[in-house]
């Protein structure tokens, strides 16, 4: 049931973003409710009049979840590589969620800059979790560059539109059976997480759908259950659809032939 990334074993297949929560306490409670073991974090340019460090950092450390820093906001490979190195030092991890955005409107990843940054960072010893599209060939190139994990989008970041192209995601699963596949971005409700897991994805990453719900702690638990349900269903094997009704009760013909 668990997941292994390199030498790290994870019991939970739910990766949780930490942004946009109403308060650090709600974030802390939501992490506990979801049972997540991987949380995404970020880093930003310090303002001239920087105040005290965010207390979220202490909360996450206390929660015991492994941190997955991202390179949000980067538009070039060079920027992303620099930020990844900063993140490695700041968060003391070689895991990096590599984001290189190519379009401001959709926040669609730039596949070319992403690949270039990936090649550099793999050489530099990072475990790269690339935020990518569901394009099969781009994904294959990322694996060729040394990624073991891919994080294709379900829909644009923060849109909550769910899995816009399940066929493409299914194709990725079928064609890349050895890659760890994590749906990242666009998941709007637990049913989307169930769908991703039923498709055979190894995990999902969710932020806004939890943090912007009316009750993030309850929603975190909903996602925990959804991910578990979807994974169990995948492992159990989902029945083939039939075009017509197939009687499930083993009766013999009509009960009373009069």
């Amino acid at each position: 049931m668990g997941l292994r990334i390199g030498d790290v074993a994870l019991a939970s297949r739910f990766f949780q973003g930490t942004a946009g929560y109403p308060s650090p306490q709600v974030l802390q409670d939501a992490i506990a409710a979801s049972g997540t073991e991987v949380v995404t974090v970020s880093l930003k340019r310090q303002l001239a009049a920087a105040g005290t460090p965010n207390d979220f950092y202490g909360i996450i450390r206390k929660a015991g979840a492994r941190m997955l820093p991202n390179t949000a906001g980067c538009k070039t490979a060079k920027e992303a590589v620099t930020l990844a190195h900063m993140a490695r030092e700041l968060f003391d991890t070689h895991w990096i969620k590599l984001e290189v955005i190519g379009d401001d409107y959709t926040l669609q990843p730039d596949p070319f800059e992403l690949l270039e940054a990936t090649r550099t960072l793999v050489k530099d010893g990072f475990e790269v979790f690339p935020y990518c599209t569901d394009d099969l060939v781009s994904c294959q190139r990322l694996l060729d560059a040394g990624c073991r994990i891919l994080m294709p989008w379900g829909a644009p970041i923060g849109s909550g539109q769910g899995l816009l192209n399940p066929t493409a995601l299914k194709t990725l699963r079928a064609r890349l059976p050895d890659a760890l596949l994590v749906v990242d971005a666009g998941i709007g409700s637990p049913k989307d997480a169930v769908q991703a897991m039923e498709l055979g994805f190894d995990a999902v990453l969710v932020n806004t759908a939890v943090s912007h719900s009316h009750d993030p702690v309850k929603m975190a638990r909903a996602f925990k259950l959804a991910v578990e349900a979807g994974r169990l269903a995948h492992e159990a094997g989902i029945m083939a659809r039939q075009e017509m009704a197939v009687p499930s009760t083993p009766v013999t013909g009509q009960p009373f032939v009069l």
Binding site: G17, G20, L43, R45, A48, N207
Partner: protein, 68 residues
């Protein structure tokens, strides 16, 4: 001699002999609480004392935040 640099986009004047470690100390933050880059290149914590700042340099300091 005084150099004119920027720190996170804000202009700042420093003595010509200032290193990146000196600058970080002057910012008043614990050195381990931020990551640094000069002119877009990462400078590891351990190397800050060896990086001499020059006129026109753009220094960036980054801190942890929440993220998705």
């Amino acid at each position: 001699m005084t150099f004119h640099i920027t720190v996170n986009g804000e202009p700042r004047s420093i003595d010509a002999a200032t290193t990146l470690a000196d600058l970080v100390a002057a910012l008043g933050e614990p050195p381990a609480s931020l990551a640094t880059a000069v002119n877009g290149d990462f400078v590891p914590r351990g190397a800050r004392a060896t990086v001499q700042l020059h006129d026109g340099d753009a220094v960036f300091t980054f801190q942890p935040i929440t993220g998705g």
